[in-house]
Point group: C2
Amino acid sequence: MSGRHTEQSTGAAEAAPTLIDCDIHQKWRDPEEVVAYLPDQYKDRGVQSPSILYDNVAEFSRRDAVPDDGGPAGSSIEKMKEHHFDEFGVDYAVLTGNSYLNLTALPNRDYAAELAVANNKWAIDNWLAEGGPFVGSLLAAPQKPERMAEMIRELGDHPRVVQVVMPMASQLPYGHEYYWPMYEAAEEMGLPIAMHPYTEGHGVTRPPTGAGHPNTYFEWHTLLGTYAMGQLVSLVAEGVLAKFPDLSFVVIEGGLSWVPHFMWRMDKDWKALRAQVPYLQKPPSEYVRDQVRFTTQPIEEPDDPEHLLQILKMMHAEETVMFASDYPHWDTDSPLYALPPMPEEMEQAVMAGNAQELYGLPNDPTSLPTN
Amino acid sequence: MSGRHTEQSTGAAEAAPTLIDCDIHQKWRDPEEVVAYLPDQYKDRGVQSPSILYDNVAEFSRRDAVPDDGGPAGSSIEKMKEHHFDEFGVDYAVLTGNSYLNLTALPNRDYAAELAVANNKWAIDNWLAEGGPFVGSLLAAPQKPERMAEMIRELGDHPRVVQVVMPMASQLPYGHEYYWPMYEAAEEMGLPIAMHPYTEGHGVTRPPTGAGHPNTYFEWHTLLGTYAMGQLVSLVAEGVLAKFPDLSFVVIEGGLSWVPHFMWRMDKDWKALRAQVPYLQKPPSEYVRDQVRFTTQPIEEPDDPEHLLQILKMMHAEETVMFASDYPHWDTDSPLYALPPMPEEMEQAVMAGNAQELYGLPNDPTSLPTN
């Protein structure tokens, strides 16, 4: 598993990064900034961005992340740098976008796809152009896979674009061959595909659970890991990981303590039911270890931190786990306190090494071109 | 947590049971046996029992469990005794029914409820009347809660009825107050309520995952634990466990390695979001430890058995876990080989003690009346 920058010099003269934050949400100051990039036919529609209906008890973003001038949290590069990057020594910040993660909740596929393209052009011009620690994601509306494939090929060679992000919520599970043209483009461009939860159970997406729609945000948020399991088992079972061996997936914001259970369950069922998935050439958990990465936030917090370390070992965290804070959202995890004490090699891999390898990042962030 | 028989003598002169199997599926030889118990208006309809559409690679029941006379697996008491109970020394067999676990997939609530009642009368007359190791469950069609409450009060005082079983699949999550009259009756009668998967994503139930309908049985079966999570978080968050402190729930056939993750997630989210669930008076995981039990099958099988023991310790298996084989289904777990070596106290609790306490079973099964 390696990103497309690995063939570049990794800047051996520079020390390797020690902290790569894999989930930073940037936001526009004013939606009109993005509307400017929309095709004319959608300009009047503007940015249709329904927020989730499962209401938090307070804001979804941290009040202390609001810029001094009062813009939305995450909208000021200066505030972000001072408040988070400088505070913790973040070498790379992987931008994952914001409310556009509801793209699959939108009934109109064409509009959703053009909104993705407009957002990505805006992010490239306004954030990746800044350089510094920023690398970014192309948000995708996967219900329009051919258009997304075109976009990935058009925008995906920007030196600071390091992945595609699609919403965790969908109408069809992501293993479905309907989506494969998009996967083909991402593999071709050397870009991993991340999945991020946001609007499960909203708009035209499915109810979040087999039991239907939960009642509270507390329930909805507790179940984040199950949304990831529903998509991952599909990607494995339908043969996406086998068909696209150079394509990786990243699960963002699902926590991680469910992963050992998930890998064991797949392997056990595969032993008995492999006739249903004959294109799998090795146990499902090995596809996961080779081609799937999990970001840490929102990390579980057992009473005994040793339990979390046991989980990290069970899931081979030294290969599979990447730190993420989710800054500036309400439940930001601290790079200092979120994770338990780990063996040195595991800690280095989780805090920076796995992400550096996956995204193919040079040691020196400033060596990456900004356009 | 204690069953309603605990006030009886537990037969101190007898040795305590060493193996209680909490998921044994009995079946009718001929559906007409059950039709005889249906109200006249439904007799012509017969037993409408759609099987699941996610197809296994072979039969759902073990070929070696078929009785000598060729009836369905699970339909012969003699075969079951010889093949499973005598082989492993099963002291108690908790019968959980069979294809009726699709009751919530049926669009007609009234018919589903009467089918549940008819099945339960049949089971009492044909299986519980046999005595021996058999104790049983009242299957419920929870979409008709008042009728189920009536049934639970009518049939629930049979000395060998030890729980209510409802399908894991539903139209509304089980925390919903619509279901509460049934819970009130079960608590009143001292009967735990079990949930068992079968028709998630079929008939009028919801798609099994937030991603929609998976493609294969391999996927459907891998995700069993997520169906349980969707229901359990609802039971906790909507206050069912808090409102009915003497009511217990049992998760059957969901495996268990997801449970530590689930408890940690709820507790973490509860710390931040408890304003949404103000009726919870303690951390959610404590409600689970006090009022929820998990059966073992289909047990996860990590390469390193020590990992499974770590999971059992994380979830306080000495309080929360009960052995189940799922006999005579295709993936029956062996009482001898399914679980890793455990400390003696934990092993005793898992293999028998926790179930004996939950169901209030006397040491001597033959001391329980048969009607």
